[in-house]
């Protein structure tokens, strides 16, 4: 087959994508390397998520759902803090406000026929859009069933509702309920176990619960300590409380 001619406009669009992808502006970058193009003092440190000032993506009713649902997904109990106490709702909020929420790295070009399960995510909604549509639908369905939005119904009813979404037995008018639940569960677990710089896993609650050592650099001396408890507390990319001011 003959290759299609490439329009100038398409090339420019693609060039822009490449530049944005790497954080390199075309004007500033020396893209032809003779020698090692190593840039001293230019490490790509992760950006600490600012969790101050409340929600930035979720509206008030949406935040009410997220907080209520997170409290059921990982409850606070005798084992320790749950998802809410660990900051998962704000973690999800910030993730949806950023690259992940916009599906920046995803292929989001149509057409959009319904696919097989083995073909994966085929919604035209970005993650942020899916949360918005799903929460509205959930509160509508809950309103019809219980005369109250999700966050106002009893915990056992909330659990039953979430199980219905998980199994697909509860359907939503505008969103694939299983696709939403799968994403939400994944994001809750991310918020509970990711490095605290992203706003979740507050005080390393998730890591302390299970005994994960965190962002440790050198664990050589414990490799052969068969059956012995690991003696050090978890540490994050920004250190840990009592060791650095910003952890």
């Amino acid at each position: 087959m003959a290759a299609q001619p490439i329009s100038r406009r398409r090339m420019l669009a693609a060039g822009a994508v490449l530049s944005a992808a790497s954080g390199v502006t075309a004007a500033a970058a020396d893209l032809t390397a003779k020698g090692v193009p190593f840039k001293p003092n230019s490490a790509t440190f992760p950006e600490r998520t600012d969790v101050s000032g409340g929600y930035v993506y979720f509206s008030q009713p949406e935040a009410a759902f997220i907080e209520a649902a997170c409290a059921r997904m990982i409850p606070a109990d005798d084992l320790g803090p749950g998802a809410v106490e660990a900051g998962v709702p704000v973690f999800i909020d910030r993730q949806l406000a950023g690259e992940f929420g916009h599906g920046t790295r995803w292929y989001m070009t149509g057409p959009w026929p319904k696919g097989e399960k083995t073909q994966g995510y085929q919604s035209r909604l970005t993650p942020a859009e899916m949360y918005r549509a799903a929460i509205k639908d959930i509160d509508d369905v809950s309103g019809r069933q219980n005369n109250a939005p999700f966050h106002q119904i009893a915990a056992d009813k909330q659990d039953a509702f979430l199980k219905g979404l998980e199994s697909g037995s509860t359907t939503l008018p505008n969103v694939d309920s299983k696709a939403f639940f799968t994403m939400f569960l994944q994001n809750v677990i991310e918020g509970f176990f990711s490095d605290p710089i992203y706003g979740g896993n507050r005080d390393m609650a998730g890591w302390k619960l299970i005994g994960f050592s965190g962002a440790r650099y050198d664990q050589r001396e414990f490799v052969l300590a068969y059956g012995k408890p690991y003696p050090l507390p978890p540490v994050g990319i920004s250190g840990r409380p009592g060791w650095s001011r910003e952890s």
Binding site: R8, A21, A33, P37
Partner: protein, 589 residues
């Protein structure tokens, strides 16, 4: 109108592991080499330093080191009865992007295929009869033998400073190594990594039940090592962030840690990043590549003429580039004609979780290729009579670092969320381990790659379309491996095990392996292969296509060692034969 640059001796399309090996060898021959990489430069202290490399969310779940699918992806269907739809986000496999390619985020699992793997058809037919290979199973012999590749496997292992224990030194079986491996000329350059508790518990159970466990060969350095190019690797510190991550400690062998510090300084080498090749340009008779057209960061179309074109992107992209460039004839399963896109294969994986009450395993202490393995059920190391399948895979217990978003195993019956889930995760995280199986996929008539009729990439080119499903052979083989893994798991005397078989159609969502193979396969003659055994195009002799695309079918091992060995065999042939008669076929059809 494309701008035309001065001609170069050789142009590399893509600059990952294979690109770096090719660049190093071709510049050694005195050639002027230009590498075109669509992504950007990246390096250890800037992109994955030890102060921030251990970040599960950023690197794995937000895909920082991987292909950006908004730029290009592929479409997928299980069979011709379905419409292929785009892979909209990554899942089953994780191709890399930027300098170093997927080699930056690999585990460092360095395997040699078995001698009989290279005779997949003739060996199985001679041992089990013609009926052992069904008509629609399109497996082939490779056209090279293990002995042909042995020197090149050795070269790669010494480049990487692989840590391991030989099991077969020149035909002598060595205790503690893999007794099933082909003969090797010398031991690994470094001794095995220190082995944590869980893999040792597995090894004990495997031995006691008659299997032959040995330490996984690891491109994670067990001690300080200076490779033959003079590049230093540091001792691995078991941080547990190898697979899907870059190594901040210069312990994992990658293009960056083994070749680039030497290659980048050579005056006859040039790297152009943000340069995406659109197509390979051919002479009017279609028999010579004249160079490549690429698009730079500013969207300019540029023609880079070259005497020698090396297509060394990821295996899937290599196949797409051939199709986009009209090199060879696309495969049509209905007629059996054409070869480009034929024999796409993958691997089939499964696992068995082992849960203890009384043993603390500290699973977060890990390295990419750290574990105890057995090859008793790989390839044709066991009698397949009456089993109804051919091929096999390794079984082993690896401790790669239990990053908790990805790894928090729970036993049968545990809830998937809520307070019961929390209790199960808290109880089991430190006391669980996973035995994995890693099985071959044979090539089949319907499993293939071609260009999608509907979906396009950001540059307007058709996406690659993958048509793939597991067949009976894979399911029977994987179930057999999983049953053996469960036996070994029970022999570890845990509280309980959980068996995770791979059931049903291939699903592109859950992560499995980034071991996509075939589509531009090698062989002994042009009637059934796209490339000769030196990875030279039969149709366009000044074009070489090194990569896992050359595998006629997949084996039960990680592919990188074999990709590297084939690449070094290719560069040797270019050095000793091709350059004396440039543009001529190295093998006459």
């Amino acid at each position: 109108m494309a701008q035309t640059l001065p001609k170069t001796d050789a142009v590399l399309i893509g600059f990952g592991w294979v690109g770096a090996m090719m660049g190093q060898e071709l510049t050694d021959m005195g050639l002027n080499v230009v590498a075109l990489e669509k992504g950007s430069w990246r390096d250890t202290p800037t992109d994955f330093a030890t102060t921030f490399a251990q970040d599960e969310l950023r690197y794995y779940w937000r895909h920082e080191l991987f292909e950006r699918l908004n730029h290009e992806t592929l479409t997928f269907r299980n069979n011709d009865g379905q419409t292929a739809l785009p892979m909209r986000h990554l899942g089953s496999f994780l191709p890399g992007s930027n300098v170093g390619g997927s080699g930056v985020h690999w585990n460092g699992q360095v395997w040699r295929f078995l001698p009989t793997d290279f005779q997949a058809r003739s060996h199985n037919v001679s041992r089990y009869g013609k009926a052992a290979v069904p008509d629609d199973m399109t497996i082939q012999d490779w056209g090279v033998s293990y002995d042909d590749l042995e020197p090149y496997y050795d070269k790669f292992e010494y480049l990487c400073g692989v840590s391991g224990k030989a099991g077969n030194l020149g035909g002598q079986i060595v205790p503690g190594g893999d007794p099933f491996e082909g003969p090797r000329r010398r031991d690994y350059p470094n001794p095995p990594l220190d082995m944590p508790y869980a893999p040792m518990l597995f090894a004990k159970a495997a031995s006691e039940t008659g299997r032959h466990p040995f330490p996984h060969p690891a491109a994670n350095s067990s001690r300080p090592y200076t490779n033959p190019l003079g590049v230093q690797l540091a001792q691995c510190t078991f941080c547990g962030f190898c697979e899907k991550y870059g190594c901040g400690n210069y312990s994992k062998a990658t293009a960056q840690t083994t070749i680039l510090p030497v290659l980048m300084r050579k005056p006859n080498f040039t790297l152009r990043t943000h340069s995406e090749v659109m197509k390979i340009e051919l002479s009017p008779d279609g028999k010579t590549a004249t160079g490549v057209t690429y698009v730079d960061a500013q969207g300019r179309e540029i023609f880079q003429p070259a005497d020698l074109v090396i297509l060394c992107a990821y295996s899937l992209e290599n196949v797409r580039m051939l199709l986009l460039s009209d090199v060879g004839k696309p495969y049509d399963p209905s007629t059996g004609e054409g070869l480009v896109g034929k024999n796409y294969a993958y691997q089939i994986t499964s696992s068995v979780n082992v849960f203890y009450d009384d043993k603390i395993l500290n699973p977060f202490i890990g390295a990419g290729a750290l574990g105890m393995m057995c090859n008793d059920y790989n390839g044709d190391n066991f009698d397949h009579s009456g089993l109804g399948f051919i091929g096999g895979g390794y079984i082993g217990l690896m401790q790669t670092g239990a990053r908790p978003i990805e790894t928090h195993p729970t036993p049968n019956g545990a809830p998937t969320w809520g307070s019961g889930w929390k209790r199960a995760v808290a109880k089991n995280y430190l006391r669980a381990a996973t035995i994995s199986t890693h099985g071959a996929v044979m090539s089949h008539k319907q499993n293939r790659l071609d260009l999608d009729p509907t979906y396009k990439d950001a540059l307007g080119r058709p996406l690659l379309r993958m048509t793939f499903d597991f067949t009976d052979n894979e399911h029977k083989m994987s179930d057999y491996l999983t049953d053996r893994a469960a036996e070994m798991g029970r022999a570890m005397n845990p509280r309980e095990i959980k068996v995770n078989k791979r059931a049903g159609s291939y699903d592109i969502v859950p992560y499995q392996t980034t071991h996509n193979t075939g589509g531009a396969i090698m062989g002994a003659n042009p009637r059934d292969s796209v490339l000769n055994t030196y990875l030279q195009s039969w149709d366009v002799p000044n074009l070489f296509v090194p990569g896992a695309n050359a595998f006629p079918q997949n084996a039960g091992y990680n592919p990188t060692g074999t990709v590297a060995a084939l690449t070094y065999r290719c560069t040797d042939a270019i050095r000793t034969h091709y350059l004396k008669a440039p543009g001529q076929p190295l093998v006459h059809a």
